[in-house]
């Protein structure tokens, strides 16, 4: 004996454009993803500078002069803030991606995060050093 089948699964649609608005963690995630736009824009700016350097002293001086414009300074402040947010939110999750196991135990997450900050500061100081900042 077989009864009537009532199999009629109901599918709840998910908005492809507004799905992240409902939850705080999803909004934060999308903010992190969006912040990479500024990281990319700044990489393009550096490439532009490299191109100007290759084109000769005049072109490079024009590039440096352009960096001092109010529009450029505004962009730099925004890019700095957004890139710092991108970096901090990325460093927070690095222990998940690269756990370090010693024997049976894992190195505590905060130690790995601090390690990333340490390398970041060291690399920044090195770049400033080769850039001549500490030569007076």
């Amino acid at each position: 004996m077989s009864g009537k089948s009532y199999v009629k699964p109901f599918v709840r649609e998910v908005s492809k454009t507004t799905w992240y608005l409902a939850r705080g963690r999803d909004r934060l995630h999308m903010a992190h993803e969006a912040s990479c736009v500024f990281v990319g824009l700044y990489a393009l700016l550096l490439l532009w500078g490299l191109r100007a350097l290759a084109a000769g002293p005049e072109a490079y001086q024009a590039f440096l002069a352009a960096l001092g414009s109010p529009l450029s300074l505004g962009f730099h402040w925004v890019a700095l803030a957004v890139t710092l947010f991108h970096t901090v939110s990325w460093f927070q999750v690095t222990p998940k991606a690269m756990p370090i196991q010693i024997g049976e135990a894992f190195v505590p997450g905060p130690v790995i995060v601090v390690g990333h900050y340490t390398v970041w500061v060291a690399l920044s100081l090195f770049i400033l050093f080769i850039g001549g900042v500490f030569h007076g």
């Binding site: 009537k4 009532y6 199999v7 009629k8 699964p9 109901f10 599918v11 709840r12 998910v14 492809k16 799905w19 992240y20 409902a22 939850r23 963690r25 999803d26 995630h29 993803e33 999750v93 222990p95 998940k96 991606a97 690269m98 756990p99 196991q101 024997g103 049976e104 135990a105 894992f106």
Partner: protein
């Protein structure tokens, strides 16, 4: 006298009579030590026997009672009524899965994906019985033990924004289980799993939103497992293309 009376707002869907889900509110007198599952059982036993939901162990082991509680995927047997801020508690079936009936969802998609990652020990050379058991050090066990805690409750799928947007994505629990076996010193099946794990619906579809790990009631950390597989898969790719040869990672 009960600890507090709550209004349990339950999403109902009866395919034989409803065209779409709707909310039904039950007033439930709760005791202080009640979890949401106890409130649902009260409804079933005293108020409305037609309500459908899955549960079995009542102790966060079987993975049957995952559902959306106030919008978050949680085990109803592990979510205490006293810990929820409001007297009105909204209970819905797990997000991102089709609703079969009331709080019961269709899990066929997850079951199919689970099989595709071959979640079992694979050996290239079978070990004869007279060779004895596979020995494993405590350190080798520690490498993957936390991933064995998965109870397939699918809360991670309900939280995953990628699975919501790209249903083909293999998803957190299946990929975490693939990593569990890849990381097992007794296993030799990573190459066999790689075609599925590193496919365009596998680890590279994950955007590391980390929602799966946040909601996991067993602290499995599927997001971490997936990122570690991305690194391992990338290292393998470079080894293959630089002619360095692979070793089991």
């Amino acid at each position: 006298m009960s600890y507090k009376t709550i209004e349990l707002e339950v999403l109902r869907y009866r395919p034989e009579m409803d065209d779409q889900p709707w909310f039904q509110v039950y007033r439930v007198p709760c005791e202080e030590d009640w979890v949401v599952l106890d409130a649902l059982n009260y409804v079933k036993d005293h108020l409305d026997s037609s309500l459908s939901y899955r549960w079995s162990c009542h102790m966060a082991v079987c993975g049957s009672c995952g559902m959306m509680i106030d919008g978050e995927p949680q085990l109803s047997c592990k979510t205490f009524v006293r810990d929820l801020p409001d007297r009105r508690i909204r209970v819905e079936p797990l997000a991102n899965f089709p609703i079969e009936r009331d709080l019961v969802v269709v899990l066929d998609d997850f079951m199919e994906k689970l099989q595709r990652v071959k979640p079992y020990l694979i050996r290239q050379e079978a070990r004869a019985l007279d060779q004895g058991e596979h020995l494993q050090t405590p350190a080798q066990l520690a490498r993957f033990k936390h991933y064995t805690q998965c109870i397939n409750c699918c809360c991670c799928y309900a939280a995953c924004p990628q699975y919501a947007l790209i249903p083909e994505f293999l998803g957190p629990a299946a990929l975490a289980l693939a990593h569990r076996y890849n990381a097992d010193s007794r296993d030799q099946g990573r190459e066999e799993r790689e075609d599925v794990v590193a496919s365009n619906v596998g680890i590279w579809d994950c955007v590391f939103a980390d929602a799966c790990s946040v909601v996991c009631p067993k602290h499995v950390d599927p997001a971490g497992a997936i990122q570690q597989m991305k690194i391992a898969s990338t290292v393998s790719w470079y080894k293959d293309h630089l002619g360095l040869g692979r070793k089991k990672t």
